[in-house]
Amino acid sequence: MYTRRKFIEQSLKISTGLCLFALPPFLSSQSRSRFHSASYYQALERRRVKCELCFRGCVIQDNERGFCKVRENENGKLYSVVFGNPAAVQLDPIEKEPMYHLHPGTNILCIGTAGCNFKCQFCHNWHLSQATPEELRHRSKRMTPEEVVNHAKNLDSGLSFTYNEPTIFWEYMYEISKLGRRDGLTTIFHTNGGMRSEPLKRLLENMMGVTVDLKGFTADFYRDVSFATMEPVLNTLRLIKSEGKWLEVVNLIIPTLNDDLNQIKEMCTWIVDNLGTDVPVHFNRFSPAYKMKHLKPTPISQLDRARNIATESGIRFVYVGNAPGHRHNSTFCPSCNKRIIHRTHFMVNEIRIKNGNCEFCKHPIPGVWKT
């Protein structure tokens, strides 16, 4: 006979079973995300958060992501979706960054993920920067910071955070660079300069050098072509300099969009006034890419003119990039004018610097050199 007691007993058993089966995932989703916790954000009311990593300061609703597509709000907490999840891990010459005055001729292990906090219409790495982590999930790797550092050590290379904007994977970059510095590896990153000062200062503790894109020198250009703002980039440049880290500036000259020589002159004056004359400046040749595929490459003479302006402004190391065979791909001693680093494109053929000085006239050459 089916008694009341039996009924209660069985009901309890079933309920307990159901609880045991259903509760753990529920509990875990409450307490632990599958993603890595993010730094630099502020919790707001109604489970919203304000990301304070880059200039955008995205206010992110619950279960949504910021502009960069890789920082997600889960239940009022912010997570980095791409921590330990690089989409590209590639060995490159350090010159490819470009980074010319820091351990020239060495290799770096470059790390990039999906996403970006800019939306440049001419991006060369748009496959990564304009994709979501989900779109790249089949191609992404799983690598802990330790694994990345060990991989770099095995390849006898340094570390660089590049391809897409590394700001957006700040936590991953920070952890890797911390381990990298501990083990004596070269650590650099290539940024669009949109990071806020607090995370930047903390990150710089682990970094030896930074390459910053100064994409143009008008607010309009930043707004229209990169969907960003210029002022934070200038602040970043000043901060890196004041923190005493090695800094190189890149300006990609794009025909019709940012090739006005007056603007270039203004930019060079600003660099001299704010960063000094020793910061190397790279004027890179544009070649058609992404949504700007129908634009022509920058004329070499335009790059030469920009270079002349920079030199006249007082900048001592001005390079012309993406133009293989160009004389000013190489480094010349500002004192004796002899070629002290011979490069073709990003290949170093010869280095004539000893202990940080020109081998010919012993003039000190600013940079970070291997002894």
Binding site: Q90, P93, N125, H127, Q130, T256, H294, L295, P297, G325
Partner: protein, 745 residues
């Protein structure tokens, strides 16, 4: 009196002839203009055609009743005819100004949705007006000739006008005049026709006609005298950010040359294709890596972009001869016109010989053998480009190699990361090459270079290449021993090369299943309209069985409806499916032409003229009283589709194929033209005749064509291929004939 009647009847005939002439000429012009503005491929052409047909159908449908009721149909007809002349001028001007007005940077590749929207707006005034002309022409012809239904005759005369336009356009106008001059000539023709019509109808006094003629002539002379100015000004608007040196049309394409800092950039149909001097990283790898892999390259064949740097780099290897196949003589003419020291030395080199023959045809027809064949073309986003990436072509190349010969093909790539779309495209090219050559390797880069040979390649031993670099004393900006070390360092690019070679599910790319085209289009779309990529991938994953199921459901529904209501649904369906079928076969034939001959831009006018010729012949016979059998004509379509499907299965000789394509073009035109008057007669038979019904049929024909153009260009051919498209077409016409058989009872 008879004379007057003759004159009246010929006046309206001529006006309708001019209507057909204007319509087709205008189509040619606007398609070419849009190709330049949007840098078109099959997708864009499909969209432009579809928009055109849709708008014309809308115009016709909206005016079908109004044309019946208005009091002065002739005045409306004349006014719209003249208006089209103006609107044609206006829309070309507007199209060329679009980028300037909306501040669209010239270098930006536009998304397909933007292309669709802009073309819809630009085409609307002329296309809708043109659509409205059909019912008006039918009404006027009916009134003048006292025929109750004149639509079939309008259809016939319009087809003749289009046929003549096709011939004149291809053989005369396009090579001699710019687009504005052609539009003005057409406008003058319209004025002449209007005057003739007014004079023949005697509804206005001579003074009125003369003053109108005078006014219009002054206007047209003004336009005529300023076409050069207009052409130049609007061309400058189109290239507003650049200093434009010239823009010229050849029968193959439009070529614009801009100058900046003594560097010239050539744009073909709106996209840059040569910069002189070319950036070294564009040319040095493409020339030196393959040539360094060969022990002694003497004879080189170059297909693609040659002058401006590549030839100069090849010459550094002390080769004996370079054959450079460049289809369009205008490219070389303009290179000579805007000479630089580099191009001068290249063109004057005794070792270089330029052959003005399309590359594939040249390889096929000449027996020359080469040590190195370099293919430097953009990725195959069109069937024309795909001719150089197919198994059939690779197999021909294999027979044109000397011992140790090498084929090198560049395809978009990346040193860092391959997207899904790019990886699949590279997988396909690899697999296709591997099916034609025993040894294939990939040199990874921003431009991957596929090297294929019948002998083992020396890619793994970079010291051999460095040795040859030294022996040949090659001085280059990019390529040196350090760069070769970097380029062939296994630790850098091995994983990317492995991903390209792996491609477990890689498909073959052949002439008739142009898989690489869809993959290239997907890659292109992932840049310009990323949201569309998922839609296209979904479409791609739809099996043909689902399309079949949809068709079965539609036709079962139509048959049930026909059985219940016993109305004219079967006639409407026959015309709608005919519009669909004719444009699908028309496009398939154009694609075939492209696959076999590769210069459809030259012959599209002639092919269209043949279609219109067939259409006119069909309409002529269809107008005869004794032909009334819709079943026979529908069976004709079925037979034609079956015959055409057979050609997808067998390999046909190139000369025979030419005959097949042109005669099928006439046949499909004839069947289409034949059916329209029969359908009109069917309506008459059931005493349901109103003139507006024939306009409805005409717009149904156009609606069918609209769906056909859109689905063939964008969905069917790129995803399921030509053969499967024809199977679907067969089902559609079988459904249609079933409906006709039921409807007849």
């Amino acid at each position: 009196m008879e004379n007057i009647n003759w004159l009246r009847s010929k006046g309206i005939d001529f006006a309708i002839f001019v209507m057909g002439f204007t319509s087709l000429s205008w189509q040619f012009i606007i398609v070419r203009e849009m190709l330049v503005t949007f840098h078109g491929n099959e997708f864009t052409i499909g969209i432009i055609f579809a928009n055109w047909l849709l708008l014309e159908a809308v115009g016709c449908y909206l005016w079908r009743k109004k044309a019946e009721s208005i009091k002065k149909p002739l005045v409306f007809f004349i006014s719209i005819q003249l208006l089209i002349g103006f609107l044609a001028l206006l829309s070309v001007t507007l199209l060329r100004s679009t980028k300037y007005i909306f501040e669209i940077p010239l270098g930006e590749v536009l998304g397909l949705h933007i292309v669709a929207l802009i073309s819809l707006v630009i085409l609307a005034p002329v296309s809708i007006s043109k659509g409205a002309l059909f019912p008006l022409a039918s009404r006027n012809l009916g009134m003048i000739k006292n025929k109750p239904n004149a639509a079939s005759e309008v259809y016939l005369i319009e087809a003749i006008g289009s046929f003549v336009a096709g011939l004149i356009f291809i053989f005369y106008l396009i090579e001699r005049f710019d687009h504005f001059t052609i539009i003005t000539i057409i406008f003058l023709l319209n004025i002449f026709s209007v005057v003739l019509l007014l004079h023949s109808q005697k509804i206005y006094s001579r003074v009125k006609i003369l003053s109108l003629v005078f006014g219009l002539l002054i206007l047209s002379v003004t336009i005529f005298s300023s076409t050069k100015w207009l052409n130049e000004k609007t061309a400058k608007l189109l290239w507003y950010e650049y200093s434009l040196l010239t823009t010229e049309n050849s029968v193959y394409s439009n070529i614009a040359v801009i100058e900046s800092e003594n560097e010239f950039t050539f744009f073909q149909n709106g996209a840059p294709f040569i910069t002189i001097p070319s950036p070294l990283f564009f040319v040095e790898e493409k020339a030196h890596i393959p040539l360094l892999l060969h022990p002694q390259p003497e004879n080189v064949l170059l297909i693609g972009r040659g002058v401006g740097g590549l030839v100069n780099e090849i010459l550094k290897h002390r080769v004996k001869s370079i054959k450079y196949a460049e289809q369009d003589p205008l490219v070389i003419q303009l290179t000579q016109k805007f000479l630089t020291p580099l191009t001068e030395s290249e063109i004057n080199s005794e070792k270089l010989s330029v052959v003005n023959i399309e590359g594939r045809r040249f390889v096929k027809t000449s027996d020359n053998k080469y040590d190195c064949i370099l293919i430097t073309l953009p990725i195959p986003t069109t069937l024309q480009l795909n001719r150089f990436f197919t198994l059939e072509f690779f197999e021909i190349l294999n027979t044109r190699l000397n011992k140790n010969g090498i084929v090198a093909i560049s395809v978009a790539g990346s040193e860092t990361f391959l997207t899904d779309e790019l990886e699949k495209l590279n997988n396909t090219i690899y697999r296709t090459l591997k099916s034609a050559f025993p040894f294939v390797r990939v040199v990874v880069g921003e431009m991957n270079i596929f090297i294929a040979s019948n002998e083992k390649l020396v890619l793994d031993d970079v010291s051999i290449m460095k040795q040859r670099l030294k022996e040949r004393n090659i001085q280059a900006g990019l390529i040196n021993e350090f760069y070769l070390d970097y380029k062939f360092d296994e630790s850098r690019f091995k994983s990317i090369e492995a991903a390209i070679i792996k491609g477990d599910n890689a498909v073959l790319n052949s002439d008739k299943t142009p898989n690489a085209v869809f993959q290239s289009l997907l890659f292109h779309t992932s840049i310009v309209s990323p949201t569309l990529v998922d839609i296209l991938k979904t479409i791609d994953s739809i099996p043909i069985s689902l399309y079949m199921l949809i068709l079965i459901v539609i036709f079962v529904g139509l048959i049930i409806s026909q059985l219940k209501r016993k109305n004219n649904l079967y006639i409407d369906t026959a015309i709608l499916t005919t519009g669909f079928t004719s444009i699908v076969i028309y496009l398939v034939l154009i694609f075939y032409f492209q696959i076999y001959f590769g210069n459809v831009y030259h012959y599209v006018g002639l092919l269209t003229a043949f279609f219109m010729l067939g259409s006119a012949i069909g309409a002529y016979f269809g107008n005869k009283r004794r032909f009334k059998n819709l079943v026979k004509i529908e069976s004709g379509f079925i037979l034609l589709i079956v015959a055409l499907s057979l050609f997808t299965l067998i390999e046909v000789d190139i000369a025979l194929m030419q005959i097949i394509i042109f005669s099928t073009m006439i046949l499909i035109g004839a069947l289409t033209g034949f059916e329209f008057p029969i359908a009109v007669k069917k309506y008459q038979d059931v005493n349901d005749f109103k003139s507006q019904n024939s306009s409805k049929l005409y717009s149904l024909d156009l609606f069918g064509a609209f769906f056909g153009a859109l689905l063939t260009g964008v969905v069917f051919v790129p995803t399921i291929g030509i053969a499967a498209t024809l199977v679907l077409l067969l089902m559609i016409k079988i459904g249609s004939i079933s409906l006709v058989l039921i409807g007849k009872k």
